[in-house]
C-alpha cells in the first residue's frame, strides 16, 4: 500500500514536472504578449498616483511610503493571481480540443493549472523589471521584507491564486450550459476590482463597507497577501482561515459542476 502510494506520488511528480516544463516552453513563445499583459496590470500603480495626491490619504494617516508599498505589493499580488481559465477553456471546448484531453488518463484541469503556473514563471522577469523601474523613480519607497515575511507572502500569494483559480473554475464550468460564462466572469471581476483592495486600501473603506467586503472572498485574494508583502500588520490566521473556508466551499462545487458539465457536454455531442 505504501509502495503504491509512493509510486503514485512519483508518477504525479513526473507529470507535474513535464507539464510545467513543456508549458513554460510554450509560454516563452509568447513572451512578448505576456510582457504586455504584465504591463496591463498597472492599475494599482495608477491608483497610487491618485491616492498619493489626495487629501483623503493624509486624513487617514497613510504616509506616502506606506501607500507606495501597499500599491506596489497589490500590483505584484495581482500579477501572480491572474486567472484566464474561462477564456482558454471556452475556446478549447468550442474547437474540440477538450475531447482528446478527456480521453487521456489525467484530469484536464491539471493541464490548465500547469499552464497558469508556467505563465506566472514567464511573467516573473517582467514584473521584476517593472518594479525596478518603479524604485528608480521612487527610491524612498524601497523596502526589503524580512525573509520570514517574504516566505509567508509568497505562500499567501499562491493560496490567493488557487482560490481565484477555483472561483473561476466554477464560473468556467458554466461554459457547458451557456455561451456567456466569460461575460459572467467579467461581471464577477467588478466586485473583485473594487472590494479586493486593488484600487483602494481596505483601511480607507467606511466601516460598514469594509465589514461587507470582508464577508466576500475578494480581500483574501488581494489585500491579505499584499499587506503581508508590504510588511503591514495583518491578521494572519484570519486570512488563512478565510481562504480555507472559501476553498472548502468552492472545491466541491467546482468538482460537482465538472461532472454535471461533462454529462451535458457528452449529451450535446462532445
Amino acid at each position: 500500500m505504501r509502495g503504491s502510494r509512493r509510486l503514485r506520488f512519483a508518477r504525479g511528480w513526473r507529470i507535474a514536472r513535464v507539464l510545467l516544463s513543456t508549458q513554460y516552453a510554450y509560454m516563452l513563445e509568447y513572451r512578448a504578449e505576456i510582457a504586455l499583459w504584465a504591463l496591463s496590470g498597472v492599475l494599482p500603480l495608477i491608483m497610487l498616483g491618485v491616492w498619493s495626491g489626495s487629501e483623503a490619504a493624509g486624513g487617514l494617516g497613510l504616509s506616502p511610503e506606506r501607500l507606495s508599498r501597499y500599491f506596489l505589493s497589490a500590483f505584484v499580488v495581482r500579477q501572480f493571481t491572474i486567472v484566464w481559465l474561462v477564456h482558454v477553456f471556452e475556446e478549447d471546448a468550442l474547437q474540440g480540443r477538450l475531447s482528446p484531453y478527456l480521453l487521456q488518463p489525467l484530469h484536464p484541469l491539471w493541464r490548465y493549472l500547469a499552464s497558469h503556473l508556467s505563465e506566472q514563471a514567464t511573467r516573473l522577469p517582467f514584473v521584476v523589471l517593472i518594479m525596478a523601474i518603479f524604485f528608480l523613480f521612487q527610491p524612498a519607497a524601497f523596502w526589503l521584507p524580512t525573509p520570514g515575511g517574504f516566505l509567508l507572502a509568497v505562500v499567501a500569494i499562491h493560496l490567493a491564486f488557487l482560490l481565484r483559480f477555483l472561483l473561476q473554475t466554477v464560473i468556467t464550468m458554466l461554459c457547458f450550459w451557456t455561451e456567456r460564462a466569460a461575460a459572467l466572469e467579467r461581471l464577477l471581476l467588478i466586485p473583485y476590482l473594487f472590494l479586493s483592495g486593488l484600487v483602494a486600501p481596505l483601511e480607507a473603506f467606511p466601516e460598514g463597507v469594509r465589514a461587507f467586503a470582508l464577508l466576500t472572498p475578494f480581500p483574501a485574494m488581494l489585500s491579505f497577501p499584499a499587506q503581508l508583502l508590504a510588511g503591514e500588520p495583518v491578521d494572519l490566521a484570519g486570512g488563512l482561515i478565510t481562504i480555507g473556508v472559501w476553498a472548502a466551499l468552492l472545491l466541491p462545487l467546482a468538482l460537482w459542476l465538472w461532472q454535471a458539465g461533462l454529462r451535458r457536454y457528452s449529451a450535446m455531442g462532445a
Partner: protein, 256 residues
C-alpha cells in the same frame, strides 16, 4: 459543432435579455464602484487635484461615455483585425476597392456598449448642472468639438494597437494594456503627481480624453487647450494611418 448546438440550445433563447441584463449590470457595477472609489479619494476633504466632487463627476461621466463608445464601435471592429490577421482573411479586405483602414474600422457595431454611453451622458449632464455650469452656445460647441477630438484620439490609439497584431498574434493582451492605462482617465489629470501628469498629457494623451473636454463643459475651457486637443487628434489620426501602412509592409498573408 458545439457552437451550433449552443446557438440553438435553451440558453440561446434568452440571448437578448441576458445580454442586456449583463451589460446593464456591468455598467451599473462599474459606475457604482467608480463613485465609491471617488468618494474614498475625497475622504473628508472637499477637492481632488483642485476639482470639486461634482466637477470630478463630469470627468467620470466622460470616461464612462468614452468607455461605452469603445465597447460599441472600437472593440468589436478592431478585434476583427486580429481575427483577419490570424485567419489570413485580411487578404480579402486588402483586395477590396475601399480604404482598408476605413473598412476595418467601421464594419460592425455592438449595441452592448450603449448603456455605458447613456449612463456616461446622463452623469455628465447631471454633474455639470450641479457644478453650476451655464451651457451657452460657445460652451456647448467647444465641448462637442473636444469630445469629437477625444474620440478621434481614442480611436487612433486603439487602431494602432490593433495594427500591432501583424506582429503579435495574441494582441488582445495589448488592448488590455491600453484599457488599463486609460482607466487613469477616470480622474482629473491634475490629481496625479507631476511626472504622471506630464506622461498622461504628452505620451499617452489621457488628459485630452476626459479632463480637457470636462474643463470645456464646465465653462473653463481655453483656446490654447482647444487648439492643442485638435492638434493632438490630427496628429494621432495621421499617425495611425502611417502606422497601418507601415505595418502592412510586414504582413505576410498567414497560411493555414
Amino acid at each position: 459543432m458545439l457552437r451550433r448546438f449552443w446557438a440553438t440550445s435553451l440558453a440561446a433563447d434568452l440571448e437578448y435579455q441576458v445580454n442586456v441584463l449583463i451589460e446593464l449590470l456591468a455598467v451599473a457595477g462599474n459606475l457604482a464602484g467608480s463613485l465609491f472609489v471617488l468618494s474614498l479619494l475625497f475622504g473628508q476633504g472637499g477637492s481632488l487635484g483642485g476639482w470639486s466632487w461634482e466637477e470630478a463627476l463630469v470627468v467620470l461621466g466622460l470616461y464612462t461615455l468614452l468607455d461605452g463608445i469603445t465597447s460599441t464601435v472600437l472593440q468589436p471592429n478592431l478585434s476583427t483585425i486580429v481575427t483577419h490577421v490570424q485567419n489570413g482573411t485580411l487578404d480579402f479586405v486588402l483586395l477590396k476597392p475601399v480604404d482598408s483602414q476605413f473598412w476595418l474600422s467601421a464594419r460592425t457595431f455592438s449595441p452592448w456598449g450603449l448603456p455605458g454611453v447613456a449612463a456616461g451622458f446622463a452623469l455628465i449632464v447631471v454633474a455639470a448642472a450641479r457644478a453650476g455650469a451655464r451651457p451657452d452656445g460657445a460652451t456647448v460647441a467647444a465641448a462637442l468639438v473636444l469630445l469629437l477630438s477625444s474620440t478621434v484620439i481614442l480611436y487612433s490609439l486603439w487602431f494602432v494597437l490593433a495594427a500591432t497584431s501583424i506582429w503579435f498574434v495574441k494582441v488582445w493582451n495589448a488592448t488590455e494594456v491600453l484599457r488599463a492605462a486609460l482607466v487613469a482617465g477616470r480622474y482629473p489629470v491634475s490629481a496625479y503627481p507631476v511626472a504622471l501628469r506630464t506622461f498622461f498629457t504628452f505620451v499617452l494623451p489621457v488628459a485630452f480624453l476626459t479632463t480637457v473636454p470636462a474643463e470645456a463643459i464646465l465653462g473653463r475651457g481655453s483656446a490654447p487647450w482647444l487648439l492643442a486637443s485638435l492638434v493632438v487628434a490630427a496628429f494621432c489620426l495621421f499617425g495611425s494611418r502611417k502606422f497601418w501602412q507601415f505595418a502592412l509592409r510586414f504582413y505576410t498573408s498567414a497560411s493555414s
